[in-house]
Symmetry: C2
Subunit: 643 residues, 2 copies
Amino acid sequence: MDGVQAANSGHPGMPMGMADAATILFTEYLKFDPQDPDWHDRDRFVLSAGHGSMLLYSLLHLTGYERPTIDDIRNFRQLASPCAGHPENFLLPGVEATTGPLGQGFAMSVGMAIAERHLNALFGDDLVDHRTWVIAGDGDLMEGINHEAMGLAGHLALGRLNVLWDNNKITIDGATDLSTSEDIPARYRASGWHVVGCDGHDFDGIRAALDEAVADPRPSLIDCRTIIGWGAPNKMGTAATHGAALGPEEVAAARQHLVWDSEPFDLPEEISAAWREHGRRGIGAHEAWRARLAASHHRDEFVRRMDGRLPADIGIADHLQSLIANLQKVATRKASELALEAINAALPDTIGGSADLTGSNNTRTKAQKPLTRDHYSGRYIYYGIREFGMAAAMNGMALHGGVIPYGGTFLIFSDYCRPAIRLSALQQVRVLYVMTHDSIGLGEDGPTHQPVEHLTSLRMIPNLTVFRPADAVETAECWALSLERQDGPSLLALSRQNLPQLRTGRTDNLCARGAYRLRAAQVARQVVLIATGSEVELAMNVADALEGQGIGADVVSMPCWSLFDAQEPNYRADILPQDTLKVSIEAGVTLGWERYVGPRGLAIGLDRFGASAPAEHLFKRFGFTAEAIVPRILAALSSQGDQ
Amino acid sequence: MDGVQAANSGHPGMPMGMADAATILFTEYLKFDPQDPDWHDRDRFVLSAGHGSMLLYSLLHLTGYERPTIDDIRNFRQLASPCAGHPENFLLPGVEATTGPLGQGFAMSVGMAIAERHLNALFGDDLVDHRTWVIAGDGDLMEGINHEAMGLAGHLALGRLNVLWDNNKITIDGATDLSTSEDIPARYRASGWHVVGCDGHDFDGIRAALDEAVADPRPSLIDCRTIIGWGAPNKMGTAATHGAALGPEEVAAARQHLVWDSEPFDLPEEISAAWREHGRRGIGAHEAWRARLAASHHRDEFVRRMDGRLPADIGIADHLQSLIANLQKVATRKASELALEAINAALPDTIGGSADLTGSNNTRTKAQKPLTRDHYSGRYIYYGIREFGMAAAMNGMALHGGVIPYGGTFLIFSDYCRPAIRLSALQQVRVLYVMTHDSIGLGEDGPTHQPVEHLTSLRMIPNLTVFRPADAVETAECWALSLERQDGPSLLALSRQNLPQLRTGRTDNLCARGAYRLRAAQVARQVVLIATGSEVELAMNVADALEGQGIGADVVSMPCWSLFDAQEPNYRADILPQDTLKVSIEAGVTLGWERYVGPRGLAIGLDRFGASAPAEHLFKRFGFTAEAIVPRILAALSSQGDQ
């Protein structure tokens, strides 16, 4: 209340309404050690209703985490403080996930609970034996992603997932009955959840409900009937407490109502001491766990995985060698499967999956067994038709650590996962998106299934590395780069259609530079063709045709814009020299390509929706043929000559 | 089966599995007239499981629509045919909605059912009295958006919405129990739906279920237990029939199994005649309706609205006049509310709403009453925390016709609605997105709530008009352009923070050209500053500072890229002349701005996630001040001089 008032911005209602339940959870149930926020076997706690961040900051401070300090809390929502408006996992240890975009905290917790059971199946109770706790609000439960996340959790029988629902019947617009008439417990029961209710302001009732949740083998929804803004005598129970400071008068009235006479940010020592004592509750368990780890034959491997380090060999080198030995003309989605066969054999950390497009995304390798409620050791998840839920679950898995999740869908459905892709990037987690059918090359399914704007709109998300490899070698290189990257997500855009292998000799990982000269002009260079993915083959054909007319043309393959942008200027100038006509070829929107082709260059793309027809008809219809492109280049060369 | 086989691409399983239920629906229940596919009081039918498009094409052909012809069907999934891989509303009358992206057809049908009840409340049973029918598959029901859509439908008690669920227990990856354990009927009942089941291959059972659904006052889910690929003796009941042609052998076997000896695309005349007779079933009702319409005092207004024509005055002209008379320094979200007060009073067609951010999006005007289950005549919908569901429902409303939906959320959550925004654009419907809190200017809520990449990634969606107005006048102009646009959606990106009114004199609608010179250089022009939204004020300050140093600078306000790109070259060259340093200022990613500033220009933006702090601190921190920008411009001018 005081922190929000000091900032004059924030959400006091939820922290005050859930303070009682959260107090019981943190002081009696949650397994954690404030001295080591990253203890691998701690319980995970996710504040899905992230706008109530002040509740979490208070709990971390009270239980003895090094940060936030009381000054951090006093500076809530200011640049210098790690106490951001919404909890940010990269600012404050103890914040397990960045939350705020509603529904996603809950959905990430499902991924955490999956990772826990999977690692438990591999490493046993001695090393991995913890719970995932969530506080979720009505908004979390109303968002569509909740349906996907709870369905997945119920299907996988994630009994160690316990969600405290802050059932205060208030949303921003007013009472929940303005917009919903749902019987939420009935919905949860229909998906295999256990539901238990309690008065969220009655300590014994909360304990009884948490005990029941812990004991039940199903995931549990704990229906905490609460009053938003509890303790603010004139505003509690109303939407007025949700998203604005209470105001000095109501803060004063709440002090009186709660019989709290300390000044803001001033904690009586006996209360502080009692909280810190609760914060030490986990030390013994932590010590015992450390001893078990030290004695475990799994120790090195477990620590390697939890630290996110790759083994020395992830299978790519041999795989690349085999590609050079036996050229592959395959779709890059198939090339991805070939790479994955090698990776999954060498790297036990991966957990693959697809949102019901396994055979199309080529995401399941031969030895992968399904991860099911009966076999958590499996390494492949049938996510169902739940793209967003899959992406958020992968975020949770990566945040948990010990696993590297990858998941597939069609590139067009990156839109369905986009809010979670953004959170992968913001949270700096290693999640790999396998997005196939990456252009009009998918053909007959038509414009609803043909990504046009997606590639470049994904390239715009900060800290997301977007790859569009051109052949089997580039695909393997991009997989290696994605896996080696520890501080953010990667997305591979892959073709449906077969592509020739253009890289036929052994080299370093050329994709690491984002773009490189695949073929140098044979005669005096006038043109640089820049292409990605399936259009690199076309660029090679265009170059042949140009050179047949005595016009020298480089072909630059540019699988990754952001890596290229990060190269030093000399390299970039060498690849895209000033004194040439630069021509980009990509079967997507042209906006953005001006960065590389300049104002006098030529951006060949598709600035409209596609159509339904066989792929080769579409490429022809939309001008992606050497016959259509060469005259455009000749015209551009000739008009440049005029200037 | 034959159409898919001829294309050697498509989905035979669903059409064959649901053929029985669809036959009963089309021949005995659905109200329609193939001679007038746009009859305003027809029942709407949405094939949410759009991959089963061949079912719909067959039904339209059989019941006597002019198209598709048998040749159209023979050319399924070819460029020349309107029988696209997925049904496209813009290719074929009788296709009420473009479907394929799973879950959205269902969600659009909710919007259609809302529009029907709303118009019924206004115009009475005589003119508006129809049902909305849907065929949905397991995928439609597993997607998150289904939770939002069915929750909204249950809450609004849309009893005239009836959904036939193709319950075949098969998805692409295999049996549904690979990925879900949900009791779907229980979930629907928990949201106020009526559920009835039937054997989807038993005509009497289907009839009994449809009768019960029609009679029940709640929205109905009709659980049709079907066998996918029904009739293909060796493949039916398996995922093999879902997404690939059956193959010539199985097609032959199915012919034998079904005792069907006609050649492909050859229909026995007696069967054709019987179907066409069924297609004439609605003619009488249509005639009677026409007579009622002719006699109705509502006739002109009803027809105007259903035709999508605006009244002569939509309130904007007077509103603009009042803005010039009384300058407004308000946030553009507030400016939008001011515009809406005028619009909603003059234009009865609008139905507003927000995804639980009414007070923040400023979407509800004073006279708007809520649209509820008890008062369908209301013009404001509390959509709840259902951004995607809201957007899809708005698509459905616009497709139905007679209403112009607008809805609000934060711009950041455009990601949650993005798949539906794309379908607004593809379907060419007039849906208006009111997206507020459009930059780091939202301040303390931090990076999860600060759009950075969103503006330009939305600009990439073909046929979506994205506006970012700079003041109250531009906001009103952009509202006018959005409403006047009949062939696609518009999105307004609006500020949280107050902005001065920069347009103080009466002019034509300058936003119509996408960009215009707001202020001309006072001294010799060296620089053109291009800005949008809240950064136009900053650009004015930068221009002042530059001119103080003797450097002439134009300020161009560019509220809409796509409208500017559509201007003739002379206009564009006049606004962005070659011989100047062009500088863009926008608090978002710079990618894309190269189109306007060129390779030697300066794109001032934010190529990273934001942070949590008061807005003014963030603008300063990230260099959005005249003090930070002027030196960058001076440096750029000086380095240009070096070249």
